[in-house]
Symmetry: C2
Subunit: 540 residues, 2 copies
């Protein structure tokens, strides 16, 4: 049957177009040229200036032959140049590869080689490790020093400074070299705990979509003041370089993620929004009272990664900080699942509210598919809050795939869904709740024990600062939980006391058999390295 | 050169997906099932119920063989079924053709034929005209009566009622029949003042994008209470059926657009947002004081079409109503240009603020391209606030084209832009301001006179309710302005008085030479029919 709605109605130059987050900067610079865009120490720039700088960067890169198929890597904290790279690099059609600043030289060399780096931007603080990585690398990228007024001035390893590079460029709007939605925009390496990291490739459409998703999920109005506590190298700062620009907000940069600079910036710049791993939330909660007083009521905090312990959420709520739990992975542009709050829950007791807030929740409105599936049958688990399955994603905010690794891509996408590796239940209200990473689940006497649940119980003890629970092989039970605990300064607790505390708060088979005290090992992104703890547990 | 970023990184079931506004209902029904969705008289329904009803509609249509390539037409005021059709029809893959309720039977018959209607939904109020149209039509669609409790009960011309149709369907989620972003979603006929209307075809992506654009441009947070003063048949209610659903808001339905029902609904339901043509704004401003008192401070009103006279904007601002001027056409999904407010303008005098507010403004962030071009050279006019060119659009929120009219489509899209036919200037801050429709500009002594500017001057006179200015041929000047005026009830003014008033307020060559009093002729969408007035001007 002929269908008149699909005849002579195809795409033309007038009605097609690329959906790219670069557009958000052009838009905001056009509409709000004089609104503040970037704050960094004494530095200020408005949106007209930010746009001009990003055009300079793009045109300077173009003149150096950087364009589609090229890779621009950056090793830097959350400084203005890092933000500019999120626009200037894609505007010239190249791929932005923001490298985790906590990595060792060997891994950085691997990333430069595997990602085929053509140009490297390096902040002085990381000049040594970058020089070391370059010495080991097979690539010879152009190296540009970011000389930040708040960073080291004399650590230079490049042929030029970033400001000199910008001087090579033209501030007038460049003709973007973006051909289609699916063109690659960014390359982000996963922080694999074992083996080499994988290179996750993003496209323009996904970043555009998820930046809008950030805005909608967080119910964020125009002109937020956003503090950069979240590393921009982490899934491109969860797409917030683009989302905050879309909303014509202020990017408050921050070199160091520590309680004092965070709290001072909040007070000084009137911060309204920030994101951070649970460790950042803990910094706010555990700061001295006179520093905590700088936090204004109504501050919006988005957190992701592991669910923050309910105790921390409760403490923040008591300070009238509004915590939005979110969830995602590098492969899905950072968070694209969030715990949408329902005002019908406002009157529940604080503990119940915190437990609801700790759920990962529902998909961003821009995410086409999210479900908890049995990875064998690929059938959804019942929405009973009990049945555990694997969290899976589908849609345009799922990565293009892993760079130069079609096997890993196919494996991640088998059955038509992206497999997260995270185990979760689905509650009757469709909210998902992560129970564990596949490899972190503890199976004791045939029962699944969520390490996260046991950690949550430990966190409720007033002396516990951090807790991680792993499986320890057990002749009788197969596995039993083994807890590693960091205590708060000035507090003390014995293993017996914590075990008794857990017994009062959870099913007995879930209670740790061992509790070990000491500092916990962490990955470069601040995640606790459970594979190290599993090894230690073997040695008890 | 090989580009590793474009190899083995193609679309798969896991990372591709359709961007459709239907997703917003699924999302909101999943996250906020118990939130109120629809209010209509005593009728209430929540999002779970709305979703179930839309699934019933989609599955009933599927069972009747309606799907991709089918057309479902509707003739109805803003009743719940009209909203449901915006989801149920596209969910089954069909095209929604919402017909202007003010059209005559002959034009409706033309639309049913040209649009190849397969099923027609008719509200009782329009049963007679629909029966008349069907008698003239070559199509024999299934006809379904919408029996609205607030409408006529006994006017039935169909084989079934809408509720009986829903009973044929299944409330569980249907499998959408939406294959790609570019699939046709809606068919909206332009209200051509001469000749047959043209059928504008929308796709899922454009509606998805512009609904997000509505939300971002209006800076609208979750859970708005939206009053349906804007006809849903008008560019699909400017995409607000989808935008309000995305934001989990309340759709307050309204059969009759008149001052009392509007003001009563505002008070009764706590309305936060509404849209309407300038005539709706005039209703609010000109209502008796005790009715006007029902308007809460902070009410958000979006208006489009002709710029509302500055005097009306000023009066609304004095009532603490926040007016957002927007602009668009049927061909661009309704408004996709808006007057983004800049708080730096807050302290300007009221008159200057109103003049700024009356500008059409800047593109929605989702619109790729908007400019004012010389239609001959296709070069942008200078942003000097003086040079007049034609407003042109490009991007994914431009229509697919005109149904079965490739010549008109090609003509509208010539040079890679959609030609709006509207003449505008671009101010130095990039805001565009419409000066006239191409055919409405008055050329007197070689000078262009904007009929809108002259109308704006007349509106400032306290006795003037409506004014329209057209060209009248003149031996000496070529053309001169001729004004047609409706006076407010209880007011009077002479032609001489209005001409003198204009002379005090504008360049003398722009002042109307003639002023004619009486009711103005209007099109089915409430636009003043200037072609009728031009004819009358000839007869003076």
């Amino acid at each position: 049957m002929s269908n008149p709605f699909e005849e002579n109605l195809g795409q033309t130059a007038a009605n097609a177009g690329v959906q790219t987050p670069v557009q958000f900067l052009r838009h905001t610079a056009s509409v709000y040229p004089e609104k503040p865009a970037v704050v960094h120490g004494d530095y200020r720039c408005d949106y007209a200036q930010l746009y001009a700088r990003c055009n300079r960067l793009a045109s300077a890169l173009q003149q150096r032959g950087i364009g589609p198929g090229s890779t621009v890597s950056i090793i830097a904290p959350n400084v203005p140049a890092h933000l500019e790279a999120h626009f200037g690099v894609p505007m010239c059609g190249a791929v932005l590869n923001s490298i985790n600043i906590r990595l060792d030289a060997d891994t950085i060399a691997y990333i430069l080689d595997h990602g085929e780096c053509d140009l490297l931007l390096v902040d002085g603080q990381f000049a040594d490790v970058a020089a070391n990585a370059l010495a080991r690398s097979e690539r010879s990228p152009a190296v540009i020093d970011l000389v930040d007024p708040l960073g080291p001035q004399d650590k230079r390893i490049g042929e030029s400074t970033y400001e000199a590079l910008l001087d090579e460029g033209d501030p007038s709007p460049v003709d973007w070299r973006i051909d289609d939605n699916w063109q690659s925009l960014a390359l982000n390496y996963t922080s694999g705990t074992t083996g080499r990291p994988k290179g996750v490739v993003y496209h323009h459409l996904g970043a555009y979509q998820n930046a809008i998703g950030d805005t909608l999920a967080w119910d964020m109005q125009r002109h937020p003041v956003y503090l950069w506590t979240l590393p921009m190298f982490h899934c491109n700062g969860w797409c917030f370089p683009w989302a905050i620009t879309l909303q014509a907000g202020v990017h408050v940069c921050l070199r160091e993620v520590a309680a004092d600079p965070i709290l001072d910036a909040i007070e000084q710049h009137g911060v309204t929004h920030l994101c951070g791993a649970p460790i950042v939330l803990a910094m706010l909660v555990n700061a001295p009272a006179e520093q905590r007083a700088k936090i204004p009521p109504g501050l919006q905090v988005m957190t992701a990664g592991a669910a923050p312990p309910a105790a921390i959420i409760e403490a923040l709520e008591a300070m009238q900080v509004n915590v939005t739990q979110s969830y995602g992975l590098t492969e899905v542009y950072g968070p694209c699942v969030y715990c949408a709050w329902n005002d019908a829950w406002d009157d529940l007791p604080a503990g119940e509210r915190a437990a609801l807030k700790a759920r990962q929740g529902v998909p961003y409105p821009v995410l086409a598919g999210l479900d908890v599936l049995d990875p064998e049958s690929m059938e959804p688990v019942p929405a009973d809050g009990q049945s555990i399955g694997e969290v899976m994603f589908r849609g345009t905010v799922v990565m293009k795939g892993y760079l130069k690794d079609p096997e890993a891509t196919a494996e991640a996408f088998r059955g038509g869904w992206f497999h997260s590796g995270d185990l979760a239940v689905k509650h009757p209200n469709n909210y998902i709740e992560i129970k564990d990473r596949s490899k972190d689940i503890i199976i004791s006497g045939g029962e699944n024990i969520s390490s996260i649940e046991v950690e949550g119980a430990l966190f409720k003890h007033e002396a516990v600062m951090l807790a991680a629970v792993v499986a320890r092989p057990d002749d009788k039970w197969g596995e039993t939980p083994c807890a590693f605990v960091e205590l708060k300064e000035g507090h003390s607790a014995s293993a017996e006391e914590l075990i008794a505390f857990c017994r009062d708060n959870m099913a007995h088979f879930k209670v740790p058999k061992y509790v070990v005290f000491g500092e916990l090992p962490k990955t470069s992104t601040g995640k606790i390295q459970k594979f190290v703890l599993r090894q230690r547990a073997l040695e008890i």
